[in-house]
Symmetry: C2
DNA sequence: CGGTTAATTGAACGCATTCAACACGAGTGG
DNA sequence: CCACTCGTGTTGAATGCGTTCAATTAACCG
């Protein structure tokens, strides 16, 4: 069963949780195309998703148009764990994506199932940890450090020599709390210092791991 | 019973949760003096706290000395809900404070108690929401907006005409992702625009609510 | 191929930081 | 009662990082 999980979770961070299994069992397979919304901010909280293939991002836009990307979700990740009656972020497919969808009510029907409750709590805890890390990044790091940390994060998701950027520069910028120009400049700068090398716009490899990780710290 | 809660929770946001009641029943009353640690970052996660009186802050410091304040906790709030085997933030009493402490194991002994599980999940969700709001603030707002939002938050905690700043300028700065000088300058600026007025260093009142809330948005 | 969007680069600006000096208040002791 | 000190907060001037606005280049797709 760890094998089955490893297939759709390249990072293998998530143990085969009861929640994942419940979604697998109760949920429906569903496909979203690029930029399609899983749910919008303000929507009633009703569904729970598990990414099977592709990437999902959560975003929040303010009245005056500023946008913050909350997180990126990859195969195996759970999306839609927000609290409250309505979503505070929206979720969109970054790439074409395949997900498992389940109604919260269906999960709730298993309330009392200690293992499942525990799994939901664990998933929520992971989400909290994610938000806290993001918070630290936004509060403490400068542009170089933000971008470096982001690349390290991407590299940890992937395997092999080269790594993929599933998201646009704009998504990166909105995630990091920078402008697209600053992201771009920082990337060329890192490349100029031979810390990383871009093989194409969306694919890179790391030339100097120690330097990159020192920056990301 | 709502009355009993209202007494030690000025905001009255928390319903009388099963978790709060469990801590009340199982926990020991405990006093901390100013700047004393409830727990340190890296400490084993073992205890759960509920603030009875005073204010608690969580902080994280990086190897190179940068500090981020995670949140401020007031009467009625639960502290120590982090996941993982060890704390990623430390918690200190901001003022002299009184808290209820309970071992996590004691709470866990009630696993299966659906109501309690639910309450822990709710509290964790609130914590997540807090972190997400903080994230948005750090990523999207400029100095004026950050400070304004912070003052609005403080005002919502209090009642009456004047509100108290329990924390130092440094704490504010580290919470907002600014320097102490910028916080100070912004406060004088807001005062110059007659948006707020400081009666003393740690006490203020709002002169123009619409202006303040427009900034905080 | 053009046509369109995404990304990079350049130059000028501005906000927040940095470093330094000064003000204020509380506590202490002459 | 005043002088002194120490911690905390405010103010000033200069710097710099990231933004803004504009122009250019590169990638993508019919």
């Amino acid at each position: 069963m760890t094998l089955a999980l490893a297939i759709d979770d390249p990072r293998q961070v998530c143990p085969p949780s009861a929640l994942a299994r419940a979604i697998e069992k109760l949920g429906v397979r569903c496909r979203f195309c690029r930029d399609e919304e899983l749910y919008g901010q303000g929507d009633e909280v009703d569904l729970l998703f598990r990414v099977v293939r592709g990437v999902v991002r959560t975003t929040r836009v303010t009245v005056d148009g500023r946008r913050q990307v909350g997180a990126f979700y990859y195969a195996g990740d759970i999306v839609g764990l927000e609290t409250g009656p309505q979503h505070r972020f929206s979720a969109e497919a970054l790439t074409e994506a395949e997900v498992r969808v389940v109604r919260r009510a269906a999960v709730r029907a298993f309330a009392g199932d200690t293992e499942l409750d525990r799994a939901v709590l664990d998933a929520t805890h992971r989400e909290l940890e994610r938000a806290q890390d993001h918070m630290l990044m936004l509060g403490l790091k400068n542009a170089r450090e933000k971008v470096a940390a982001f690349l390290v994060g991407l590299a940890q998701l992937g395997a092999g020599e080269t790594f993929e950027l599933a998201m646009s520069r704009q998504d990166m910028a909105d995630y990091l709390g920078l402008t697209i120009e600053t992201v771009s400049r920082t990337l060329t700068q890192l490349q100029g210092d031979s810390v990383v090398e871009f093989l194409s716009l969306r694919r890179f490899q790391v030339r100097k791991w120690p330097a990159l990780e020192a920056l990301a710290a």
